[in-house]
């Protein structure tokens, strides 16, 4: 049994990639417990397995061995449909390249998780507006197409899309990687605010100034979490960028 405050647990996670006869291990046995309301950063060099780990805990990919338990639900027991439902209800994703759908408006992009959930149109409006406000976005963007916004603005729309379903966990893969420092600060401020409201945030990053905004920094190398570091709030990008 999981303790009630554990929102996510990874047990001996392994992921192998096979190319012909060659097997490469992306993850070599990751054990991780994340408490409800934590803000965790995962850091490590390129190819260390950060994104692979994020994909596993976001149920975007299946582990070769091991298991993931999200809010008490053992992922390995779920069907494809149940996994999609769990992703929709419990997890919000933020990507480095925003991954907004260019032919849809900002409003339509943000409401996508609600559409997947089958929510009626008239109920979606209020939730879309609230999510964009929470992501420090501007309501005048709603009718615009993503390419009419700056990178920082697009990332805030992507955060609003991740928040719209009020998920328990926000997973962000290099969310500031494509942004200038000022926009990166705004994004981190949003994550901190969201985390203060009780949502768990897990960020994969290269940037120590981003990692320092979290409660816990996990260092991953060669597919294993090798150590845990204490963040330094004074060195968080929110404080370093004026």
């Amino acid at each position: 049994m999981l303790r009630d405050d554990i929102i996510l647990k990874a047990v001996n996670l392994k992921k192998a990639y096979r190319v012909g006869d060659v097997v490469t291990w992306g993850l070599r046995g990751v054990n991780l417990e994340v408490r409800r309301g934590e803000f965790i950063s995962i850091m490590g060099p390129s190819g260390s397995g950060k994104t692979t780990l994020l994909n596993m805990i976001g149920i975007l990919d299946k582990p070769t061995k091991g298991d993931i338990i999200i809010d008490g639900v053992r992922v390995s027991k779920l069907s494809s449909k149940e996994m999609a439902k769990l992703r929709n209800r419990k997890i919000g994703f933020v990507f480095q390249q925003f991954n907004l759908i260019s032919r849809l408006t900002v409003y339509e992009n943000i409401e996508l998780p609600l559409v997947a959930r089958g929510m009626k149109r008239h109920l979606r409006r209020r939730m879309v507006v609230d999510a964009l406000k929470m992501a420090a976005g501007d309501l005048t963007w709603l009718k615009k197409k993503p390419n009419q916004l700056s990178g920082g603005q697009q990332q805030r729309v992507a955060i609003a899309r991740a928040l719209v379903n009020n998920p328990a966990i926000i997973l962000a893969d290099e969310p500031t990687g494509a942004l200038d420092r000022s926009s990166a600060k705004a994004v981190l401020q949003t994550f901190v605010n969201v985390n203060k409201h009780g949502q768990t945030v897990i960020v994969v990053t290269h940037d120590p100034e981003v990692a320092n905004c979290s409660n816990r920094i996990l260092i991953i190398r060669d597919g294993i979490i090798v150590k845990e570091e204490e963040p330094c709030w004074d060195k968080c990008i929110i404080n370093t960028v004026k």
Partner: protein, 369 residues
């Protein structure tokens, strides 16, 4: 388009033939056989025959304000004409008496211009008919006859044997006295019951052994029906090939679309869209694409069908030429059938790309560049 035009011509020809009367048979004299009173008596004596009347028919020209115009001149009993051609009505005037050999009822497009609708002849007007005659040595001379307009028929439309709109109809006695024809062109027969047509035709063929032409409209209608049915089948077979091409085209387009949007599909899955939601989304897009194509196709097809039909189907035989202008038979069923096929094309064409999209693992799709 093809189906509507073929069905349009088919139903037009059938309706015109059957409009002449399912129980109408015409025996036409030939160059090797001249119909005489003996033939008329023999035919009238057959048990299947209700009425049989001889008639004269010649092609001729008249002079109008618009120039020389080709017409068909009939000398025929008006009663049998009305029995043979249903719905033939007088627009103006009256039928002349049987003895009034110089009075005629004229067709609508003899009285009015076919192109402008302007009046060319009215009741009481005199029409000079020029009848060509080929003399020895191939020289053509014209015999003149002048008749007075006693009545004008309403517009009837094209017909396979009788052309009411371009005809001049005189009493039967006028054949000899006005048209100077020595022998009947044919004998119009009304059979007692349409069921007896086949038996009568069989008897006549047996008696005359190919010396005369026997035209049974019911039988022609059956032949036309079977020909249009065959053409319809060919059109259907052709449409099957078009169906296969359309399915392949839709599938190719959707596969390309799915490949181009792999990353987008990954995003949708990351946001919680299920495999079946992604699959239906792609199929719905394929159906929508097919429907747009179908609507454009139906619109162009309708235009093409009307253009083809407006040009008419030209049937020539020697110097005679008949142009059938039948509207394409476009029915709600035909349009529904076409749109139904279009939806099926969308579903079948979209199925494989949709399945492919649904089965892409989200992490793989998100990595796709």
């Amino acid at each position: 388009m093809m189906t509507s035009v073929v069905r349009g011509y088919g139903s037009y020809v059938e309706s015109q033939l059957l409009g002449l009367g399912q129980n109408t048979v015409v025996v036409m004299g030939t160059s090797e056989y001249t119909l005489t009173r003996n033939d008329l008596d023999y035919i009238r004596g057959l048990p299947e025959v209700d009425v049989a009347e001889p008639f004269y028919l010649t092609q001729a020209y008249i002079q109008t304000k618009e120039g020389r115009k080709q017409v068909y001149v009939y000398a025929i009993d008006y009663d049998i004409l009305n029995k043979a051609i249903g719905n033939l009505k007088l627009e103006k005037g009256e039928y002349p008496s049987l003895t009034d050999v110089t009075s005629a009822v004229i067709g609508h497009f003899v009285a009015f211009s076919e192109s402008t609708g302007a009046k060319l002849f009215d009741i009481g007007d005199a029409i000079t008919i020029l009848m060509p005659q080929v003399k020895s040595g191939g020289k053509v001379t014209f015999t003149r006859a002048t008749v007075r307009v006693s009545g004008i028929f309403e517009e009837y439309g094209g017909a396979m044997f009788v052309s009411p709109d371009t005809g001049i109809f005189l009493p039967e006695k006028s054949g000899k006295s006005i048209l100077h024809m020595n022998s009947w062109s044919g004998i119009f027969i009304i059979v007692k019951d349409p069921m007896l047509v086949d038996s009568l035709v069989k008897k006549l063929r047996s008696t005359y052994a190919g010396k005369v032409d026997i035209i049974a409209f019911q039988q022609i209608a059956k032949v036309v029906s079977s020909i249009t049915g065959a053409i319809d089948f060919i059109a259907f077979s052709t449409s099957l090939s078009a169906f296969a091409v359309a399915v392949a085209g839709t599938a190719a387009t959707m596969i390309t679309s799915v490949i181009e949007r792999t990353r987008e599909i990954g995003v949708l899955k990351a946001l919680g869209f299920t495999d079946s939601q992604v699959m239906w989304m792609i199929i719905a897009e394929a159906i929508l694409m097919s429907l747009i194509g179908g609507l454009i196709g139906v619109t162009l097809g309708l235009g093409g069908a009307f253009v083809m039909a407006s040009r008419g189907l030209s049937i020539s035989s020697g110097v005679s030429k008949l142009v059938i202008k039948a509207p394409p038979k476009i029915t709600p069923e035909l349009i529904s059938y076409t749109m139904g096929i279009t939806i099926i094309v969308g579903i079948i064409g979209g199925l494989i790309p949709a399945y492919r999209a649904a089965k892409i693992p989200p992490a793989v799709a998100l990595r796709y560049e």
